[in-house]
């Protein structure tokens, strides 16, 4: 197998796997505290016990997931050096700044979560609520800082590259690189969307089963309101991101769209199977001029194809293309479901019908699939570069033999962690359900 013979493949797989695992917990850590604080707010306002139970249940979930995310995040901070010493030797000094701010934000989050989780009967209500909000704000901030560090790899800034050494380092310019805002916005919305839909799916399922209708209805309403609003805003943010990518990483855009030949009035490709060898796409649907319009606000604009780049600089077209299609497809679908939910809940103000609840249940993991697919587009689309246009991933990798073993150990350990975590969450949720006997009826 490749991972046992080729250090680069092993290192990339390990990094991808560790990030893919951590992102789930990071997204939850950024978003769940806001759900929790909203429920807590309603409890303090109304005094309904069901909101209290919901807040407590969610806060325990946050604690479990935060603890898991904290360790998987620690792993990543070490892995930067363990797997990519060639990268960190140069990049550490340039992009350390967002990391040091992220460290601060994460520290505040860890303190706030301690106060919130253990402070139930120790501090007065609204102060306690404020500590919960602090968990959310600092979590969000730490996520944004880390994404800024990632976006620097896509649009490097704040240094001059002279003979393989970075000079004139400007950490502020590096942090506020060309993509930082679009990427941070897209990731923040994606987190709200993914977490909102998965939490909503769990509670919709419990509603359908007829357990604790009040608690689960309140939970569904809070979670999916956040999720649906994010899902409706996400296409706009995606459009902004695509325009930035078109401008700064044309090879990535070309791979996302399987756009092999440079042309004016480039069509938008939906679906299709790209073939790198023949540089053709089979079975795709083309919308004439749409890609030019989306990328440059002009139906006749020229969009660079992969033919403008040496083949050694191509990302893996098929992977990037499929991941992009999955992300956009799911994003569109969830925006529609979100709109339907908001319409039914806030305009019609009626009961949710059973089919709507089943629809929500079936959307459960889609948000996270889209989120992971989006990261695959970002990361694989940047390849073969680790610092876009400056340093190749193959130049950065550690030379240590046996990285494949490293990967296998981490898959094994993370697999166990995920298993125990799910088991614990399952039991936690179940302990808060009181069967009512009558299934939810619309």
């Amino acid at each position: 197998m490749d991972i046992f013979t080729d250090g680069l493949t092993a290192a990339r797989t390990t990094m991808g796997f560790s990030l893919g695992f951590h992102i789930i917990f990071a997204a939850i850590g950024m978003v769940m505290p806001f759900f929790m604080a909203t429920s807590h707010y309603f409890y303090l306002k109304t005094g309904y016990r069901s909101y209290l139970a919901l807040t407590r249940m969610w806060s325990k979930g946050v604690a479990i997931l935060f603890a898991t995310g904290a360790v998987s995040g620690t792993v990543l901070s070490f892995e930067l050096g363990l797997l990519w010493p060639g990268f960190m030797k140069h990049a550490g000094a340039i992009i350390g700044m967002p990391f040091s701010w992220e460290g601060t934000a994460f520290f505040l989050e860890a303190i706030a979560i301690g106060i919130f989780l253990y402070g139930w009967d120790k501090i007065p209500g609204w102060w306690h609520w404020a500590s919960g909000v602090m968990v959310g704000i600092s979590g969000l901030a730490s996520g944004i800082f880390v994404v800024a560090a990632n976006s620097w790899m896509n649009t490097p800034a704040g240094f001059d590259w002279v003979d393989g050494v970075a000079v004139n380092v400007d950490p502020i310019a590096a942090m506020f690189n060309k993509h930082w805002f679009q990427q941070a916005l897209h990731m923040t919305l994606a987190s709200f969307e993914a977490v909102g839909f998965v939490v909503a799916a769990i509670h919709a399922y419990l509603l359908l089963r007829g357990s604790s209708p009040r608690l689960n209805a309140q939970a569904l309403r809070i979670a999916l309101t956040f999720g649906a609003v994010a899902a409706l805003l996400q296409p706009l943010s995606g459009h902004l991101s695509a325009q930035k990518v078109a401008e700064n990483q044309p090879a990535k855009l070309a791979a996302m769209e399987s756009h092999f030949t440079t042309q004016k009035g480039a069509p938008l490709l939906i679906g299709g199977i790209p073939d790198e060898e023949t540089q053709t796409v089979r079975y795709g649907i083309e919308i004439p001029g749409a890609l030019s319009f989306l990328a440059f606000n002009d139906f006749q604009a020229e969009v660079k194809g992969l033919d403008q780049f040496p083949k050694a600089d191509w990302p893996k077209v098929a992977y990037v293309h499929f991941a992009f299609q999955i992300m956009v497809g799911i994003g569109t679908f969830l925006a529609l479901v979100g709109a339907l939910f908001l319409f039914k809940t806030y305009i019609r103000k009626g009961h949710w019908s059973r089919p709507l609840l089943w629809l929500i249940v079936s959307c459960g993991s889609l948000g996270f699939i889209a989120l992971e697919a989006g990261w695959i587009v970002t990361e694989l689309g940047r390849q073969p570069w680790i610092i876009y246009g400056i340093m190749r991933t193959s130049e950065a990798v550690s030379a240590i033999p046996g990285l494949g073993i490293h990967l296998v150990i981490f898959i094994f350990v993370y697999g166990f962690v995920a298993l125990f975590c799910l088991l614990l969450l399952y039991r936690l949720i179940r302990s808060y359900q009181k069967p009512q006997g009558t299934p939810y009826a619309s």
Binding site: T74, G81, A93, S100, L117, G119, D121, P124, V169
Partner: protein, 339 residues
């Protein structure tokens, strides 16, 4: 100048990680040694209750140190990451296991799973502290050789020696010693206080023994640690402090304040003792010493790092103070949860 200030902040962060994070490791290690079944549950509950609120915060010091290292001193970070790859991976595995099992144990009500979590937590605490010590031993011994040609010399030889593992054992004993100090103060019953003070004595004796082992193995590995240590007047002064504190501890170990000043005091004296021998070097390689000064990032980076650290500390320290005040000092006026 910039390097010095950042160095001082890092050193303080390191001390805080050792004192707080170290006590967390030690609590896990103490859970391994429970011969008296009748205190088992009480011990577990005490550890969970007293460590729970500060658990996550205690471990951020490590992340802070890593960030300072790779931002401000990338060359040192890369050298350590390469040469100590294997011990660092071992540390990470330990951190994963103990980080999740400590929290999962708190929230899981299933008894069999809880036993599994407790054992995993205890074993991984010992495992991680040993490997932390191995990494430190490997960093100071001087066998790191980035220019070596074989994988063994590059990635294994730096830490594959008796000295590094002796440091690992020594660190574990110190952590257990710190934990006992902390738990004596937390214990509410006389029985538990006595229990932990016996643990303090045992881990103190073990620390002295493994500390001797560190000097002995250093001698075997041709590292003149003892000579450097006992000819350095600052280090000797620290030994003096540690000895006086240990004697005082014999009489006052059951008192909360005394145990909480003396035991961390002893540990700090030991760290400072080694620091004076080794400073300003942090990592010794075959090609020479790596210090903060000779691995520092460009000035612009250091300036931003210092600003981030200062702003961070201004935000973090009061919050941390608030956290500790709420859970450790505030006489609880219990707030009723309205229903």
């Amino acid at each position: 100048m910039l390097v010095d200030i950042i160095g001082i902040i890092s050193f303080v962060a390191l001390i805080l990680y050792i004192l707080f994070g170290g006590a967390d490791y030690g609590a896990g290690i103490l859970e391994l040694f429970r011969f008296h079944n009748n205190v088992k549950d009480e011990q577990e509950k005490l550890i969970t209750d007293s460590m729970g609120p500060v658990w996550e915060a205690n471990h951020i010091w490590l992340i802070l140190l890593i960030v300072i290292l790779f931002n401000g001193f990338p060359l040192m970070f890369v050298t350590i990451s390469n040469a100590l790859h294997i011990p660092l991976v071992a540390i990470l595995l330990g951190i994963i296991v103990r980080g999740v099992t400590f929290t999962y144990r708190h929230y899981d009500t299933d008894e069999r799973l809880n036993r599994f979590y407790t054992w995993s937590f205890a074993l991984s605490s010992l495992w991680t502290s040993i490997w932390l010590g191995v990494a430190v031993g490997g960093a100071v011994l001087g066998r790191i050789d980035p220019l070596a040609t074989t994988a063994y010399e590059l990635y294994v030889a730096p830490w594959d020696n008796a000295f590094s593992f002796a440091v690992g054992l020594f660190v574990s004993c110190l952590f257990a010693f710190l934990a006992s100090a902390y738990l004596i103060g937390e214990a509410e019953t006389l029985r538990m206080k006595k229990f932990f003070s016996r643990r303090a004595v045992a881990s103190n004796v073990a620390s002295i023994a493994t500390g001797g082992l560190v000097f002995l193995t250093a001698h075997w590995e041709n590292y003149p640690l003892a000579k450097e240590f006992f000819t350095n007047s600052h280090s000797m002064a620290m030994i003096g402090v540690a000895t006086v504190f240990t004697l005082l501890l014999v009489f006052f170990r059951m008192r909360k304040t005394a145990s909480r000043i003396l035991i961390p005091g002893i540990v700090m004296a030991i760290i400072l003792g080694f620091y004076f021998v080794h400073a300003p070097a942090i990592v010794s390689t075959k090609q020479g010493y790596l210090t903060l000064a000779n691995t520092a990032a460009p000035e612009a980076t250091l300036r931003q790092l210092l600003i981030a650290l200062l702003v961070g500390l201004v935000l973090v320290l009061p919050s941390l103070g608030l956290l500790i005040w709420i859970f450790k000092f505030r006489k609880t006026a219990t707030y009723r949860i309205k229903s």
